[in-house]
Protein backbone atom coordinates (compact mmCIF):
# COMPACT_ATOMS: atom_id res chain seq x y z
CA UNK A 1 0.00 0.00 0.00
CA UNK A 2 1.29 3.44 -0.92
CA UNK A 3 0.90 5.58 2.20
CA UNK A 4 2.44 8.76 0.85
CA UNK A 5 0.38 11.79 1.76
CA UNK A 6 0.82 15.49 2.55
CA UNK A 7 0.94 17.51 5.73
CA UNK A 8 -2.28 19.25 4.69
CA UNK A 9 -4.09 15.93 4.23
CA UNK A 10 -2.86 14.71 7.61
CA UNK A 11 -4.03 17.83 9.41
CA UNK A 12 -7.38 17.68 7.58
CA UNK A 13 -7.95 14.35 9.34
CA UNK A 14 -7.51 15.88 12.78
CA UNK A 15 -10.38 17.31 14.82
CA UNK A 16 -10.82 19.88 17.55
CA UNK A 17 -10.33 18.40 21.01
CA UNK A 18 -8.20 15.46 19.86
CA UNK A 19 -5.30 14.01 21.86
CA UNK A 20 -2.12 14.11 19.79
CA UNK A 21 1.20 12.53 20.66
CA UNK A 22 4.29 14.24 19.27
CA UNK A 23 7.58 12.32 19.02
CA UNK A 24 11.15 13.51 19.49
CA UNK A 25 12.58 14.93 22.71
CA UNK A 26 13.08 18.59 23.68
CA UNK A 27 14.51 20.35 20.64
CA UNK A 28 15.47 17.09 18.92
CA UNK A 29 13.95 15.48 15.80
CA UNK A 30 10.50 17.01 16.23
CA UNK A 31 7.91 16.76 13.42
CA UNK A 32 7.95 20.54 13.06
CA UNK A 33 6.55 20.68 9.49
CA UNK A 34 3.44 18.87 10.74
CA UNK A 35 3.24 21.19 13.75
CA UNK A 36 3.51 24.19 11.42
CA UNK A 37 0.67 22.75 9.35
CA UNK A 38 -1.46 22.58 12.51
CA UNK A 39 -0.64 26.26 13.11
CA UNK A 40 -2.11 27.07 9.65
CA UNK A 41 -5.30 25.11 10.38
CA UNK A 42 -8.40 26.14 12.35
CA UNK A 43 -7.78 23.27 14.82
CA UNK A 44 -8.20 24.14 18.47
CA UNK A 45 -8.58 22.72 21.97
CA UNK A 46 -5.90 20.06 21.44
CA UNK A 47 -4.46 17.82 24.14
CA UNK A 48 -0.76 17.25 23.46
CA UNK A 49 1.36 14.44 24.87
CA UNK A 50 5.04 15.21 24.39
CA UNK A 51 8.60 15.13 25.65
CA UNK A 52 8.17 18.80 25.01
CA UNK A 53 10.19 21.21 22.96
CA UNK A 54 9.30 23.95 20.47
CA UNK A 55 6.39 21.81 19.23
CA UNK A 56 4.69 22.60 22.51
CA UNK A 57 5.90 26.20 22.54
CA UNK A 58 4.51 26.96 19.07
CA UNK A 59 1.16 25.32 19.81
CA UNK A 60 0.94 27.29 23.09
CA UNK A 61 1.79 30.56 21.35
CA UNK A 62 -0.87 29.90 18.70
CA UNK A 63 -3.54 29.09 21.28
CA UNK A 64 -4.04 25.60 19.82
CA UNK A 65 -3.24 23.70 22.98
CA UNK A 66 -5.60 23.51 25.93
CA UNK A 67 -4.10 20.57 27.81
CA UNK A 68 -0.55 19.27 27.97
CA UNK A 69 0.67 15.90 29.26
CA UNK A 70 4.43 16.19 29.83
CA UNK A 71 7.43 15.72 32.08
CA UNK A 72 9.28 18.82 30.86
CA UNK A 73 9.34 21.35 28.04
CA UNK A 74 12.82 22.45 27.01
CA UNK A 75 14.82 23.76 24.07
CA UNK A 76 17.92 21.89 25.38
CA UNK A 77 20.50 24.59 24.67
CA UNK A 78 17.94 27.04 26.14
CA UNK A 79 16.73 25.16 29.22
CA UNK A 80 13.27 26.76 29.53
CA UNK A 81 10.80 27.01 26.62
CA UNK A 82 9.67 30.66 26.81
CA UNK A 83 6.31 30.28 25.02
CA UNK A 84 5.33 27.31 27.19
CA UNK A 85 6.52 29.23 30.22
CA UNK A 86 4.33 32.22 29.32
CA UNK A 87 1.29 29.99 28.83
CA UNK A 88 1.83 28.29 32.19
CA UNK A 89 2.42 31.52 34.09
CA UNK A 90 -0.76 33.00 32.58
CA UNK A 91 -2.67 29.87 33.63
CA UNK A 92 -3.77 29.37 30.02
CA UNK A 93 -3.24 25.61 29.78
CA UNK A 94 -4.21 22.58 31.83
CA UNK A 95 -0.94 21.03 32.96
CA UNK A 96 -0.77 17.28 33.47
CA UNK A 97 2.80 17.22 34.71
CA UNK A 98 4.30 13.76 35.27
CA UNK A 99 7.65 12.17 35.89
CA UNK A 100 9.19 11.64 32.44
CA UNK A 101 9.36 7.88 33.03
CA UNK A 102 5.64 7.82 33.84
CA UNK A 103 5.02 9.28 30.39
CA UNK A 104 6.86 6.35 28.80
CA UNK A 105 4.89 3.92 30.94
CA UNK A 106 1.56 5.51 29.92
CA UNK A 107 2.45 5.23 26.24
CA UNK A 108 3.64 1.66 26.69
CA UNK A 109 0.43 0.72 28.53
CA UNK A 110 -1.61 2.14 25.64
CA UNK A 111 0.61 0.31 23.14
CA UNK A 112 -0.01 -2.97 25.01
CA UNK A 113 -3.75 -2.26 25.40
CA UNK A 114 -3.38 -2.38 29.18
CA UNK A 115 -5.39 -0.06 31.45
CA UNK A 116 -2.26 0.88 33.42
CA UNK A 117 1.27 -0.17 34.28
CA UNK A 118 2.64 -0.10 37.82
CA UNK A 119 5.67 2.01 38.66
CA UNK A 120 7.44 3.38 41.68
CA UNK A 121 7.98 6.72 39.90
CA UNK A 122 5.71 9.41 41.30
CA UNK A 123 5.30 7.90 44.77
CA UNK A 124 5.83 10.44 47.53
CA UNK A 125 6.19 13.38 45.13
CA UNK A 126 3.63 16.06 44.31
CA UNK A 127 2.95 14.36 40.98
CA UNK A 128 0.23 12.60 42.96
CA UNK A 129 -1.09 15.84 44.50
CA UNK A 130 -1.24 17.89 41.30
CA UNK A 131 -2.86 14.98 39.42
CA UNK A 132 -5.43 13.82 41.99
CA UNK A 133 -7.00 11.45 39.44
CA UNK A 134 -3.88 9.25 39.58
CA UNK A 135 -4.50 6.02 41.50
CA UNK A 136 -2.18 3.62 43.24
CA UNK A 137 -2.32 -0.16 43.13
CA UNK A 138 -1.22 -2.78 45.63
CA UNK A 139 0.86 -5.74 44.51
CA UNK A 140 -1.29 -8.88 44.75
CA UNK A 141 1.80 -10.88 45.76
CA UNK A 142 3.32 -11.37 49.19
CA UNK A 143 5.28 -8.11 49.11
CA UNK A 144 2.02 -6.10 48.99
CA UNK A 145 3.91 -3.05 47.74
CA UNK A 146 1.89 0.06 46.93
CA UNK A 147 2.72 1.45 43.47
CA UNK A 148 1.48 4.14 41.13
CA UNK A 149 -0.97 2.78 38.53
CA UNK A 150 0.09 4.86 35.53
CA UNK A 151 -2.94 4.88 33.20
CA UNK A 152 -2.63 4.24 29.48
CA UNK A 153 -2.10 7.41 27.46
CA UNK A 154 -4.27 6.61 24.45
CA UNK A 155 -3.69 8.91 21.50
CA UNK A 156 -6.03 9.84 18.68
CA UNK A 157 -3.02 10.45 16.46
CA UNK A 158 0.76 10.35 16.63
CA UNK A 159 3.13 12.62 14.72
CA UNK A 160 6.81 11.68 14.48
CA UNK A 161 9.70 12.71 12.24
CA UNK A 162 12.29 10.25 10.92
CA UNK A 163 15.34 10.54 8.68
CA UNK A 164 14.15 8.12 6.00
CA UNK A 165 10.98 6.23 5.13
CA UNK A 166 9.66 4.23 2.24
CA UNK A 167 6.30 4.76 0.58
CA UNK A 168 4.75 1.89 2.53
CA UNK A 169 5.46 3.37 5.95
CA UNK A 170 8.66 1.69 7.03
CA UNK A 171 10.83 4.31 8.67
CA UNK A 172 14.46 4.70 9.67
CA UNK A 173 16.14 6.89 12.27
CA UNK A 174 19.82 7.60 11.72
CA UNK A 175 20.60 9.66 14.82
CA UNK A 176 21.73 8.43 18.24
CA UNK A 177 18.31 7.97 19.85
CA UNK A 178 14.87 6.78 18.73
CA UNK A 179 13.43 8.51 21.83
CA UNK A 180 9.92 7.07 22.28
CA UNK A 181 8.69 7.48 18.72
CA UNK A 182 7.78 3.79 18.34
CA UNK A 183 5.64 3.96 21.49
CA UNK A 184 3.89 7.12 20.27
CA UNK A 185 2.95 5.28 17.08
CA UNK A 186 1.85 2.16 18.94
CA UNK A 187 -0.27 4.18 21.39
CA UNK A 188 -2.21 5.98 18.63
CA UNK A 189 -5.22 5.22 16.45
CA UNK A 190 -3.74 7.12 13.47
CA UNK A 191 0.03 7.29 12.95
CA UNK A 192 1.84 9.79 10.72
CA UNK A 193 5.55 9.81 9.94
CA UNK A 194 7.17 12.77 8.27
CA UNK A 195 10.69 12.22 6.97
CA UNK A 196 13.61 13.98 5.35
CA UNK A 197 13.49 11.72 2.31
CA UNK A 198 11.36 8.90 0.96
CA UNK A 199 13.64 6.18 -0.40
CA UNK A 200 13.17 2.81 -2.11
CA UNK A 201 12.92 0.08 0.54
CA UNK A 202 16.10 -1.56 -0.72
CA UNK A 203 18.04 1.66 0.00
CA UNK A 204 17.58 1.49 3.80
CA UNK A 205 20.89 -0.40 4.33
CA UNK A 206 22.75 2.49 2.66
CA UNK A 207 21.67 4.73 5.56
CA UNK A 208 22.20 2.50 8.55
CA UNK A 209 22.12 -0.96 10.07
CA UNK A 210 19.08 -3.16 10.54
CA UNK A 211 18.77 -1.77 14.07
CA UNK A 212 17.74 1.63 12.73
CA UNK A 213 14.50 0.19 11.28
CA UNK A 214 12.47 0.40 14.47
CA UNK A 215 9.26 1.81 12.95
CA UNK A 216 7.68 -0.48 10.40
CA UNK A 217 4.60 -0.24 8.24
CA UNK A 218 2.13 -1.89 10.63
CA UNK A 219 2.77 1.09 12.92
CA UNK A 220 2.17 3.78 10.28
CA UNK A 221 -0.84 5.12 8.35
CA UNK A 222 0.72 7.99 6.44
CA UNK A 223 4.18 9.05 5.24
CA UNK A 224 5.01 12.65 4.38
CA UNK A 225 8.25 13.74 2.74
CA UNK A 226 9.23 17.05 4.35
CA UNK A 227 12.89 17.98 3.77
CA UNK A 228 13.93 20.19 6.67
CA UNK A 229 10.76 19.04 8.38
CA UNK A 230 12.36 18.95 11.81
CA UNK A 231 13.83 22.45 11.51
CA UNK A 232 14.80 24.19 13.76
CA UNK A 233 15.24 21.16 16.00
CA UNK A 234 18.14 18.81 15.30
CA UNK A 235 17.82 15.89 12.93
CA UNK A 236 21.24 14.24 12.89
CA UNK A 237 22.98 13.23 10.72
CA UNK A 238 20.94 15.27 8.21
CA UNK A 239 21.37 18.56 10.09
CA UNK A 240 22.13 19.92 13.57
CA UNK A 241 19.84 22.19 15.56
CA UNK A 242 19.65 25.68 14.05
CA UNK A 243 20.81 27.43 17.22
CA UNK A 244 20.69 30.91 15.72
CA UNK A 245 17.13 30.45 14.58
CA UNK A 246 16.19 28.92 17.92
CA UNK A 247 17.59 31.95 19.73
CA UNK A 248 15.51 34.20 17.44
CA UNK A 249 12.42 32.10 18.16
CA UNK A 250 12.99 32.24 21.92
CA UNK A 251 13.71 35.97 21.91
CA UNK A 252 10.48 36.61 19.99
CA UNK A 253 8.54 35.44 23.05
CA UNK A 254 9.48 38.55 25.00
CA UNK A 255 6.51 40.69 23.84
CA UNK A 256 3.52 40.45 21.45
CA UNK A 257 5.14 42.78 18.88
CA UNK A 258 8.24 40.61 18.55
CA UNK A 259 6.09 37.51 18.24
CA UNK A 260 3.90 39.13 15.58
CA UNK A 261 7.01 40.03 13.59
CA UNK A 262 8.35 36.48 13.89
CA UNK A 263 5.02 35.04 12.76
CA UNK A 264 4.83 37.41 9.81
CA UNK A 265 8.33 36.55 8.71
CA UNK A 266 8.26 32.77 9.16
CA UNK A 267 4.78 31.45 9.82
CA UNK A 268 2.44 33.39 7.55
CA UNK A 269 2.91 31.26 4.43
CA UNK A 270 3.12 27.58 3.59
CA UNK A 271 5.99 25.18 4.32
CA UNK A 272 7.95 26.18 1.21
CA UNK A 273 7.64 29.84 2.26
CA UNK A 274 8.95 28.85 5.70
CA UNK A 275 11.92 26.97 4.26
CA UNK A 276 12.68 29.90 1.93
CA UNK A 277 12.55 32.39 4.82
CA UNK A 278 14.94 30.17 6.78
CA UNK A 279 17.36 30.02 3.83
CA UNK A 280 17.20 33.77 3.35
CA UNK A 281 17.64 34.49 7.03
CA UNK A 282 20.84 36.41 7.54
CA UNK A 283 23.10 34.80 10.13
CA UNK A 284 23.16 36.82 13.31
CA UNK A 285 26.31 38.92 13.61
CA UNK A 286 29.06 36.97 15.31
CA UNK A 287 26.93 33.86 15.64
CA UNK A 288 26.78 30.67 13.67
CA UNK A 289 23.63 30.64 11.55
Amino acid sequence: MDKRTTAAEVVAELRDGMTLGIGGWGSRRKPMALVREILRSPLRDLTIVSYGGPDVGLLCAAGKLSKLVYGFVSLDSIPLEPHFRAAREAGRIEAVELDEGMLQWGLYAAACRLPFLPTRAGLGSDVMAINPWLRSVRSPYEDGEELVAMPALELDAALVHMNRADARGNAQYLGPDLYFDDLFCMAAKRRFVSCEKIVPTEDFPKGGSLHTLRIHRSMVDGVIETPGGAHFTECPPDYPRDEGFQREYAAAAKDPESWAAFQLRYLSGDESDYQRAVRERRPAAGGRG
Binding site: G71, A95, E100, G101, A121, L123, G124, P176, D177
Partner: protein, 253 residues
Protein backbone atom coordinates in the same frame (compact mmCIF):
# COMPACT_ATOMS: atom_id res chain seq x y z
CA UNK B 1 50.17 25.28 42.62
CA UNK B 2 47.91 28.02 44.01
CA UNK B 3 45.42 27.21 46.76
CA UNK B 4 42.09 25.66 45.84
CA UNK B 5 39.27 28.00 44.87
CA UNK B 6 35.77 27.65 46.29
CA UNK B 7 34.58 26.07 43.04
CA UNK B 8 37.35 23.48 43.29
CA UNK B 9 36.46 22.67 46.89
CA UNK B 10 32.82 22.22 45.76
CA UNK B 11 33.86 19.93 42.89
CA UNK B 12 35.80 17.68 45.27
CA UNK B 13 32.83 17.64 47.67
CA UNK B 14 30.63 16.43 44.79
CA UNK B 15 33.25 13.85 43.78
CA UNK B 16 33.24 12.45 47.31
CA UNK B 17 29.49 11.82 46.98
CA UNK B 18 30.32 9.06 44.46
CA UNK B 19 32.80 7.31 46.75
CA UNK B 20 32.08 3.58 46.92
CA UNK B 21 29.39 3.65 44.21
CA UNK B 22 31.06 1.03 42.01
CA UNK B 23 29.83 0.18 38.52
CA UNK B 24 26.80 2.47 38.25
CA UNK B 25 25.85 5.40 36.02
CA UNK B 26 26.99 8.74 37.43
CA UNK B 27 24.68 11.47 36.09
CA UNK B 28 25.37 15.08 36.83
CA UNK B 29 23.71 18.41 36.06
CA UNK B 30 25.56 21.70 36.34
CA UNK B 31 29.25 22.43 35.75
CA UNK B 32 30.62 21.71 39.23
CA UNK B 33 28.80 18.35 39.44
CA UNK B 34 30.12 17.43 35.97
CA UNK B 35 33.64 18.19 37.17
CA UNK B 36 33.09 16.28 40.41
CA UNK B 37 31.82 13.14 38.68
CA UNK B 38 34.77 13.18 36.25
CA UNK B 39 37.20 13.70 39.09
CA UNK B 40 35.75 10.73 40.99
CA UNK B 41 36.09 8.52 37.92
CA UNK B 42 39.68 9.60 37.30
CA UNK B 43 40.72 8.95 40.91
CA UNK B 44 38.96 6.80 43.50
CA UNK B 45 35.86 5.62 41.54
CA UNK B 46 37.22 4.31 38.20
CA UNK B 47 34.29 1.92 37.67
CA UNK B 48 31.67 4.69 37.31
CA UNK B 49 29.78 4.81 34.01
CA UNK B 50 29.30 8.17 32.32
CA UNK B 51 27.65 9.42 29.13
CA UNK B 52 28.38 12.23 26.71
CA UNK B 53 25.01 13.73 27.70
CA UNK B 54 23.43 12.29 24.55
CA UNK B 55 23.36 8.52 24.06
CA UNK B 56 26.96 7.30 24.25
CA UNK B 57 28.60 5.70 27.26
CA UNK B 58 32.16 7.00 27.32
CA UNK B 59 35.10 4.82 28.32
CA UNK B 60 37.33 7.86 28.69
CA UNK B 61 36.86 11.17 30.52
CA UNK B 62 36.77 14.17 28.19
CA UNK B 63 36.85 17.72 29.58
CA UNK B 64 33.61 19.48 30.55
CA UNK B 65 34.06 22.19 27.93
CA UNK B 66 33.93 22.04 24.19
CA UNK B 67 33.08 19.33 21.75
CA UNK B 68 34.42 16.02 23.01
CA UNK B 69 33.51 14.28 19.76
CA UNK B 70 37.03 13.80 18.46
CA UNK B 71 38.40 12.17 21.56
CA UNK B 72 35.37 10.26 22.83
CA UNK B 73 35.80 6.51 23.24
CA UNK B 74 32.39 4.83 23.15
CA UNK B 75 31.92 1.81 25.37
CA UNK B 76 28.16 1.51 25.04
CA UNK B 77 24.87 2.91 23.77
CA UNK B 78 22.51 4.49 26.27
CA UNK B 79 19.46 6.10 24.66
CA UNK B 80 16.88 7.67 26.97
CA UNK B 81 14.90 4.45 27.20
CA UNK B 82 17.95 2.66 28.60
CA UNK B 83 18.55 5.53 31.02
CA UNK B 84 15.02 5.03 32.37
CA UNK B 85 15.71 1.30 32.69
CA UNK B 86 18.85 2.09 34.67
CA UNK B 87 16.91 4.50 36.92
CA UNK B 88 14.39 1.80 37.74
CA UNK B 89 17.08 -0.82 38.29
CA UNK B 90 18.74 1.45 40.83
CA UNK B 91 22.15 1.37 39.15
CA UNK B 92 22.52 5.15 39.01
CA UNK B 93 23.44 8.08 41.24
CA UNK B 94 22.28 11.50 40.06
CA UNK B 95 23.35 14.97 41.13
CA UNK B 96 20.50 17.38 40.40
CA UNK B 97 20.37 21.13 40.82
CA UNK B 98 17.88 22.31 43.45
CA UNK B 99 15.79 25.46 43.13
CA UNK B 100 14.32 24.77 46.59
CA UNK B 101 15.13 22.24 49.34
CA UNK B 102 13.54 21.76 52.76
CA UNK B 103 14.95 20.28 55.97
CA UNK B 104 14.09 16.71 54.99
CA UNK B 105 15.54 17.05 51.51
CA UNK B 106 12.26 17.54 49.68
CA UNK B 107 13.31 19.14 46.40
CA UNK B 108 11.76 21.43 43.83
CA UNK B 109 12.89 22.50 40.39
CA UNK B 110 9.45 22.27 38.76
CA UNK B 111 8.02 25.74 39.38
CA UNK B 112 7.84 28.57 41.91
CA UNK B 113 4.42 29.45 43.30
CA UNK B 114 1.24 27.39 43.06
CA UNK B 115 1.46 24.68 40.41
CA UNK B 116 -1.89 25.55 38.81
CA UNK B 117 -0.62 29.05 37.93
CA UNK B 118 3.04 29.37 38.86
CA UNK B 119 4.84 32.67 39.33
CA UNK B 120 7.76 31.07 37.52
CA UNK B 121 7.59 27.89 35.49
CA UNK B 122 10.95 26.14 35.83
CA UNK B 123 12.06 22.74 34.52
CA UNK B 124 8.97 20.71 35.41
CA UNK B 125 9.08 17.40 37.26
CA UNK B 126 11.51 15.87 34.74
CA UNK B 127 12.84 12.62 36.24
CA UNK B 128 13.10 13.80 39.84
CA UNK B 129 10.12 11.84 41.27
CA UNK B 130 11.32 8.55 39.80
CA UNK B 131 15.01 9.18 40.46
CA UNK B 132 14.58 9.88 44.15
CA UNK B 133 12.59 6.73 44.98
CA UNK B 134 14.77 4.45 42.85
CA UNK B 135 18.43 5.31 43.38
CA UNK B 136 20.80 7.56 45.31
CA UNK B 137 20.42 11.29 44.69
CA UNK B 138 22.60 14.23 45.65
CA UNK B 139 21.90 17.92 45.17
CA UNK B 140 23.96 20.87 44.04
CA UNK B 141 23.15 24.45 45.02
CA UNK B 142 25.55 26.93 43.39
CA UNK B 143 24.22 29.91 45.35
CA UNK B 144 23.19 29.10 48.92
CA UNK B 145 20.38 31.34 50.21
CA UNK B 146 17.14 31.34 52.17
CA UNK B 147 15.34 31.35 48.81
CA UNK B 148 16.73 27.87 48.13
CA UNK B 149 16.91 26.41 51.65
CA UNK B 150 13.27 26.98 52.59
CA UNK B 151 10.77 25.97 55.28
CA UNK B 152 8.55 24.32 52.66
CA UNK B 153 9.13 23.80 48.96
CA UNK B 154 6.35 25.04 46.63
CA UNK B 155 6.11 21.71 44.78
CA UNK B 156 7.83 18.42 45.66
CA UNK B 157 9.62 17.10 42.59
CA UNK B 158 12.32 15.10 44.41
CA UNK B 159 11.17 13.10 47.44
CA UNK B 160 12.60 13.91 50.89
CA UNK B 161 13.26 11.58 53.82
CA UNK B 162 9.98 12.27 55.66
CA UNK B 163 7.88 11.44 52.61
CA UNK B 164 10.02 8.41 51.73
CA UNK B 165 9.58 7.05 55.25
CA UNK B 166 5.80 7.46 54.94
CA UNK B 167 5.90 5.26 51.81
CA UNK B 168 7.03 2.26 53.84
CA UNK B 169 8.24 -0.48 51.51
CA UNK B 170 7.87 1.81 48.48
CA UNK B 171 10.52 4.09 49.93
CA UNK B 172 13.17 1.45 50.52
CA UNK B 173 15.43 2.56 47.67
CA UNK B 174 15.33 6.23 48.66
CA UNK B 175 18.62 7.84 49.62
CA UNK B 176 19.77 11.45 49.52
CA UNK B 177 23.51 11.06 49.78
CA UNK B 178 24.51 14.67 50.32
CA UNK B 179 23.83 18.28 49.41
CA UNK B 180 26.72 20.44 48.28
CA UNK B 181 26.33 24.20 48.17
CA UNK B 182 28.85 26.97 47.62
CA UNK B 183 29.00 27.32 51.43
CA UNK B 184 29.16 23.78 52.74
CA UNK B 185 28.30 20.11 52.63
CA UNK B 186 25.10 18.75 54.17
CA UNK B 187 23.92 15.25 54.97
CA UNK B 188 21.00 13.62 56.77
CA UNK B 189 22.94 11.67 59.42
CA UNK B 190 20.50 12.57 62.19
CA UNK B 191 17.97 10.39 64.08
CA UNK B 192 14.95 11.87 62.26
CA UNK B 193 16.83 12.42 58.97
CA UNK B 194 16.84 16.20 59.14
CA UNK B 195 19.50 18.02 57.18
CA UNK B 196 22.77 18.42 59.06
CA UNK B 197 25.61 20.77 58.33
CA UNK B 198 28.35 18.20 57.74
CA UNK B 199 31.16 20.64 56.91
CA UNK B 200 31.80 24.25 56.00
CA UNK B 201 34.05 25.16 53.10
CA UNK B 202 37.33 26.88 54.02
CA UNK B 203 36.66 30.57 54.71
CA UNK B 204 32.98 30.03 55.57
CA UNK B 205 31.76 30.30 59.19
CA UNK B 206 28.96 28.17 60.59
CA UNK B 207 27.04 31.39 61.36
CA UNK B 208 27.18 32.35 57.67
CA UNK B 209 25.51 29.10 56.71
CA UNK B 210 22.88 29.32 59.46
CA UNK B 211 22.03 32.89 58.42
CA UNK B 212 21.55 31.91 54.78
CA UNK B 213 19.37 28.87 55.57
CA UNK B 214 15.61 29.26 55.96
CA UNK B 215 15.19 26.37 58.40
CA UNK B 216 16.99 25.10 61.48
CA UNK B 217 19.99 23.00 60.46
CA UNK B 218 21.07 20.13 62.66
CA UNK B 219 24.51 20.83 64.12
CA UNK B 220 26.42 18.08 65.88
CA UNK B 221 29.40 19.34 67.83
CA UNK B 222 32.27 21.13 66.17
CA UNK B 223 31.56 21.43 62.45
CA UNK B 224 34.65 20.41 60.46
CA UNK B 225 36.01 22.08 57.36
CA UNK B 226 35.31 20.50 53.98
CA UNK B 227 38.43 18.72 52.79
CA UNK B 228 40.53 20.58 50.27
CA UNK B 229 41.65 18.99 47.00
CA UNK B 230 44.89 17.03 46.92
CA UNK B 231 47.61 18.37 44.60
CA UNK B 232 46.78 15.58 42.14
CA UNK B 233 43.05 16.42 42.23
CA UNK B 234 43.83 20.08 41.62
CA UNK B 235 46.03 19.21 38.69
CA UNK B 236 43.31 17.00 37.17
CA UNK B 237 40.62 19.67 37.57
CA UNK B 238 42.78 22.50 36.25
CA UNK B 239 44.64 20.80 33.43
CA UNK B 240 42.48 17.94 32.29
CA UNK B 241 38.83 18.28 33.31
CA UNK B 242 38.14 22.02 33.15
CA UNK B 243 41.06 23.85 31.53
CA UNK B 244 38.71 26.63 30.39
CA UNK B 245 37.67 27.34 33.99
CA UNK B 246 33.92 27.07 33.38
CA UNK B 247 33.67 26.33 37.13
CA UNK B 248 34.47 29.95 37.95
CA UNK B 249 31.31 31.07 36.16
CA UNK B 250 29.16 28.83 38.35
CA UNK B 251 30.94 29.63 41.62
CA UNK B 252 32.89 32.89 41.31
CA UNK B 253 36.26 32.86 43.05
Amino acid sequence: MSAATRAEVCAVAVADAFRGDGEILASSFGTVPAIGARLAKLTFAPDLLMTDGIATLLANVPPVSGDAGGEAVAEGWLPFRSVFDLVWSGRRHVVMVASQLDRFGNHNFACIGPHAKPRAQLLGMRGAPGNTVNHPTSYWVPSHSRKVFVQAVDVVSGVGFDRARALGRGGRFHEIRRVVSNLGVFDFATPDRRMRLASVHPGVRVDDVVRETGFELALSGEVPETRTPTPEELRLVRERIDPERLRDREVPG
